[in-house]
């Protein structure tokens, strides 16, 4: 076995045999599923609880038509009971809240005089819902007052749904855009998590070798660069294994749960879809939303995305973990790492932030494009852009820049690493690191 292979193997085994690694590997999916199930359960419970709202309408403007029952909120007209009695009933806990609509001379005055009484402070969505209802009704009244025919207004409303195409003939829809955002966001977010978890694990492994002082024996047998590379690959492989196990376990657990409890896990995952998006999707395809999602996902350039995912994942991880290795080599213990961690974490966090803030709104806008070129942020931002279709020349620029930076950074990190692993005692400053770079051999 070559020395590099030996090092990779040892790092891999040392990592996967670690108790906390094993516990995390098998516990995390359970925790994730558990939390997911809990959220689903609570949401369902929430939905089951019906809120009874009563109203006293002294203005005589509103009718049962304006207060239609929904799945979670029911309305009752208590106008005959009078304000005081109604309030008492609500206070006694018989009903969720009371909407008091007084009689006023003008609609404007009325609009600002309506009151809502409840025992607990009501949720924003309830208040917003009530306000919408009132505004719609009063608006219609106003139109009536101006002598405008409501029927005509309603008849004049036209709904437009623009079909989107690009020049490679792909058709896209809002639904499809939403899926692209999700796919890109998941890929980018996964990369960030991976770099944070396993990059710091590379760093810790370097510090461990340094504090246990075995480093001097190892580097008398292998080149420091080999050792660094072996560590990065070994820890990265252990991380990939963990990710794969998580994926498989999540799939198995969700399948089993679906079978046992009849819980539709997919429904859980799409529960966050806004109603409007779902509506649009349903109208577009007239199909079951799950089928639609699968259909749309399959419509994405999967092979291209997969290959790019591998490239940026590896490139990003190697780039960052070589920097983490250099930090580990520069310090004696983990508490000293903080001053050097910030400049590394910053571009990582920035990338995710930029990704979520700009790529989603405008995947081909100048900010998204710039950050998908800058090598420290490009792995994450480009991964988020890829589902929206990025031209080959843009990919080429981004990939070439990443490779060049990667080689340069690894060279830089290896220099710091080589000197740092044999330096003890003093907490190094940036000036020291710069001095180390100039040491020969």
């Amino acid at each position: 076995m070559s020395k590099l292979k030996l090092i990779i193997y040892r790092e891999f085994i040392a990592k996967v045999r670690n108790k906390s690694f094993i516990v995390m590997t098998f516990l995390s999916p359970l925790i994730m599923v558990g939390v997911g199930a809990l959220v689903f359960f609570l949401m369902k419970k929430n939905d089951e609880k019906i809120k009874e709202i009563v109203y006293v309408d002294n203005s005589k403007l509103f009718s049962k038509v304006d207060f239609k029952d929904t799945k979670t909120v029911h309305y009752q007209d208590f106008t005959d009971l009078g304000i005081e009695e109604t309030k008492k009933k609500v206070e006694a806990g018989d009903y969720y809240g009371a909407l008091i609509i007084p009689k006023k001379d003008s609609l404007e005055l009325l609009a600002n005089s309506i009151e809502f009484y409840s025992k607990e402070s009501p949720s924003m969505s309830i208040i917003n819902g009530l306000e919408t209802k009132i505004e719609r009704k009063l608006g219609n009244e106003k139109l009536n007052y101006f002598g405008i025919d409501l029927e005509k207004i309603n008849a004049s409303k036209i709904k437009s749904d623009i079909k989107m195409f690009n020049f490679s003939g792909e058709e896209s829809s809002k639904m499809k855009n939403w899926i692209k955002i999700m796919v890109g966001a998941i890929a980018g977010y996964m990369l960030m998590m991976f770099v944070m978890i396993y990059g710091t694990s590379v760093m810790r492994s370097v510090i461990e070798e340094k504090t246990s002082r075995i480093i001097e024996i190892i580097v008398s047998s292998v080149k420091p660069f080999q050792l660094m590379l072996g560590k990065i690959i070994g820890n990265g492989s252990a991380g990939l294994l963990q990710f794969v196990i998580w994926g498989v376990l999540l799939f198995i657990i969700s399948t089993v749960l679906t079978a046992i409890f009849g819980v539709d896990m997919m429904e859980m995952q799409t529960a966050n879809l806004s109603a409007e998006q779902l509506e649009a999707a349903k109208q577009a395809a007239g199909a079951n939303k799950m089928q639609l999602i699968i259909q749309e996902v399959l419509g994405l350039p999967i092979l291209k995305m997969f290959l790019l995912f591998i490239f940026y994942f590896l490139g990003g991880f190697m780039l960052y973990s070589s920097l983490f290795a250099a930090i580990g080599a520069a310090v004696d213990n983990e508490t000293d790492t903080q001053q050097f961690m910030l400049p590394i974490m910053l571009p990582l966090i920035l990338a995710v932030y930029v990704g979520f803030a700009t790529v989603i709104n405008d995947p081909h806008g100048p900010i998204a494009v710039a950050f998908s070129y800058i090598p420290l942020t490009s792995p994450i931002v480009m991964l988020m852009r890829v589902p929206f279709g990025v031209s080959w020349y843009e990919l080429a620029i981004s990939m070439i820049l990443l490779v060049i930076t990667f080689v340069f950074m690894v060279w830089l990190a290896a220099k710091i690493y080589r000197v740092g692993i044999l330096m003890y005692g003093k907490k190094p400053t940036y000036k020291d690191l710069y001095k180390w770079l100039k040491y020969k051999g």
Binding site: L6, E208, E216, I217, S221
Partner: protein, 309 residues
Amino acid sequence: MNNLLEINNVTKNYGDFRALNDVSIHIPKGSVYGLLGPNGAGKTSLIRIINQITMADSGSILLDGETLAPKHTADIGYLPEERGLYKSMKVGEQALYLAQLKGLSKTEAKKRLKYWFEKFDIMAWWGKKIEELSKGMAQKVQFIVTVMHNPKLLIFDEPFSGFDPINAQLIAKEILQLRDEGATIIFSTHRMESVEEMCDEIALINKSNLILDGKLNDIKREFRTNTFQVGLNTKNPKEVAVKLKENFEVFPADFKLLGNELTMNVKLGATNTANELLSFLTNRGEVQHFVELIPSANDIFIQAINKNS
């Protein structure tokens, strides 16, 4: 080709600091070579260069006639002063890993390890983690890891630190045996008594410069002061003492004898011989003690360093 290692005009700088200045050392095959010097003199820098952990800025190094190259790591065994093994890795696995890094195959490594573990009677530790062993036990494992690939050149940096006297003796015996079997040994230490016991040749480095090197006996000869400790049984010691002072340079004695003898340290002049002193003494009493004061490695170390500073 009698030298296993030839270090020629090696210079090493760390930034503005010169760690080694034009150092040349030749280490004969099959010798125990003492590399001495105060803290910070440049010993570790030199050892790291030999181990190819760092590179010299200038100068050349030949191992067995060949320019030092990465393949030679398999020919060198190194026990650093700061010991260390993977704390949470099992002893056997760890030793196997380190042996394989030195180029042994897995089967060969297992065979050699078995030999050494049985020799030191520590086979029971094979499955234990280093963190479960005492410091002395870990040191033994470390020693085995250093020597198991039968390297031509062994470098020990303070090999006895951390060992109790019994185990230190055991390790010293093993080191000398390895030399007898053909290995060449570089031995870096502050403990001068072990230098006397172990080293055939020494080099003394101070402030980045080589200030002294050669066979230990030659160096001792160079540093001899022609001073003798004498003990004389005589009836009138005062008179003898006065006479001695007239003929030789005399210092108060710094040693003790069993009886009430006259004891003195006597330094021969440039023209005197030891025989002249001896006949002077025998004419005046019974000589009980007559020993040349041979400088110890410790004396040489301190003298050379002081002179150099």
